[in-house]
Symmetry: C2
């Protein structure tokens, strides 16, 4: 694709993401998207024939972003629990700063939940094998509890219209890690994870 066509597509995706993130799928029209993006109707139809295809492109863009991040964090940090905590901080920041990430999650919450349960399970399996998880807790159980607690933090923080998501996330981890780590060290773990998430 030519440079200019690529730039137009990026502008479209970003504009669409901003509207989807704010108003949801049903509350968004193609006309709004092309108006906000400042591109002609012809250009939008060239890239995306309908609203569904723009939404799908955003969801895929969002979901394909994470495997590389998981891999990088696993490469830089030997403690799987720190990796999972770091991922939640990285996701939180991406949701806060990038409309495409926020819209992608809102448009396909079910695929996000499924993807994260699977990814966290995989990351935590070595910790389970090494006896680093709390007694009686499997990697899969820990992953499920982490995903629902993490999404709950978002929902509650969003619902109350507050900008305290990161503070609530820290608070959640300080409690939840006691039930996940064989030798709980919540504060140190969160500190290491936040440093990793910033790299």
């Amino acid at each position: 694709m030519q440079q200019r066509a690529l730039a137009t597509r990026e502008r479209l995706l970003r504009a669409a993401a901003e509207i989807f993130a704010a108003n949801g799928y049903a509350g968004t029209s193609l006309t709004e998207i092309h108006e906000r993006a400042g591109v002609t109707k012809g250009a939008i139809y060239f890239h995306y024939p309908n609203k569904e295809s723009v939404a799908e492109a955003i969801v895929e863009r969002q979901l394909e972003r994470w495997p590389a991040l998981v891999k990088r964090f696993c490469g830089e940090e030997s403690d799987p629990v720190v990796v999972v905590v770091a991922l939640t901080f990285a996701i939180t920041r991406a949701f806060r700063d990038e409309p495409v990430m926020r819209a992608g999650a809102r448009l396909a919450l079910d695929r996000n939940v499924g993807a994260w349960e699977a990814a966290f399970t995989q990351v935590l399996q070595p910790a389970e094998k090494a006896g680093e998880l709390a007694e009686g807790v499997t990697a899969e159980e820990a992953a499920r509890v982490v995903v629902s607690s993490f999404f709950g933090v978002f929902q509650v923080s969003d619902t109350l219209g507050r900008a305290d998501t990161e503070e609530r996330l820290r608070e959640m981890w300080r409690v939840v890690l006691f039930g996940i780590q064989a030798e709980p060290s919540p504060r140190a773990t969160v500190r290491r994870a936040e440093a990793l998430a910033l790299t």
Copy 2:
């Protein structure tokens, strides 16, 4: 109010709750409500002049239900943590079985979050004073983490379209209680709480 008028109002509230719970506020019309309730338009206007007033009646009905339950559980059980766990099971069952409860929560998630954070804080304060909460955790912090984890369990379970809310709730408590109780006994606590919730 006469017996018949009361019965009509109940039928209206229930029909409205079923539609609100399924389709949300924006996706519901007064016409659908009176059709589902099988009452005349005149009757619905007599009780509720507009959609907003039906929704508000459902929200109030839902919110006013809980203080009596909190009081009863506190009277029957001396461990505040068991009371909080029992409340989450009782709420889960009410949401599952009663459209008015489910719709009320969906229509006013912000007021629900606020109400539960306040209620759980109050219930847990004696535990904090008695040194029964984990070191460094206040009643308010514990209440915030519990509310967000609890709402996350609902959201994830709903999103995945599964009927596993109670199982996820048990799993959540088995992890979260380690970070809340000074002397964690998650399985026994959940057992006692579920028994209390069934009374």
